[in-house]
Symmetry: C2
DNA sequence: TATAAAAACAGTAATTGTTATTATTTTTAA
DNA sequence: TTAAAAATAATAACAATTACTGTTTTTATA
């Protein structure tokens, strides 16, 4: 599936783990080091294509740019409300009572993706005792 | 806090429960029935203001417009991947192992809001045996 | 290999949900 | 009753993303 050199550079960057859950824009600026003419549209197209093929996964966030993850194993994420940094959360740490939800709501539940919110270690330190961070609108 | 007539109309529409978890746009077209000149900006400003004051709550979704909820009690949501309809999910039905997550990730966890994905009863019927719905990009 | 069809590309324009700006109107309070 | 403050309508700006277009690259096949 890795025909084009641009696509290969994109997937390689993701797997290199230089940046952990990069947005398309971060991928763009990095891949540009080896492909100065690559277009942002190409980055988006390939990231989506790779996600669709299951070679990477896409992490959609509320009010923030999508992130991309070379780890396709099932797991959840937590995002720092202050700086936007994302960390993995093992899928065993969130328990969803699928049966009850389906019974009560009538929905079928796809428990695949969950994004928790919180504060990363660095931002905890920065913001901790003095000022309580204001709620994000 | 309900000074302006427009703001009152907005909060009244939300509480009327004619539509369950409307987006700003849905609020806009409905409030326009009584205030034909109201501006979309006014709707957004007031919805955000009301959410900030805690009179309503804002439900942020990945890759979809924010929704607004007159119910400010703590609870989660599930969104239909096919039609976007949202339903409440009691907060007892999702269990987050906050202690372990905090220990393993170093993050502090704000377990406030979670949005699950699934299929609402209507879309289940529509899509069920024949065609398996395609993954949303 | 040559070459035609298919795929991918760069660059740019368009879309969508939302926020910011601005000049005007409404509300509040002295 | 009138000046200051707040809110408004209308519109522009914005950010993330997708769509479009004409060109280049890749692939497959003769």
């Amino acid at each position: 599936m890795n025909y084009s050199r641009q696509r290969e550079a994109i997937v390689n960057f993701l797997r290199s783990a230089k940046v952990k859950h990069p947005s398309a824009d971060i991928v763009y600026v990095n891949v540009r080091k080896s492909f100065p003419n690559i277009s942002l549209g190409t980055v988006y197209r390939n990231l989506n294509l790779l996600a669709q093929k299951g070679e990477i996964s896409k992490v959609k966030l509320p009010s923030d740019a999508d992130r991309f993850d070379h780890n396709t194993e099932p797991h959840f994420h937590i995002i720092c409300e202050n700086c936007g940094q994302i960390e993995d959360v093992g899928s065993g740490l969130v328990n969803i009572d699928v049966m009850s939800i389906e019974r009560l709501s009538g929905f079928s539940v796809d428990s695949g993706r969950i994004v928790l919110k919180g504060l990363c270690p660095e931002c905890r330190k920065k913001l901790s005792p003095t000022k309580k961070k204001e709620e994000k609108k």
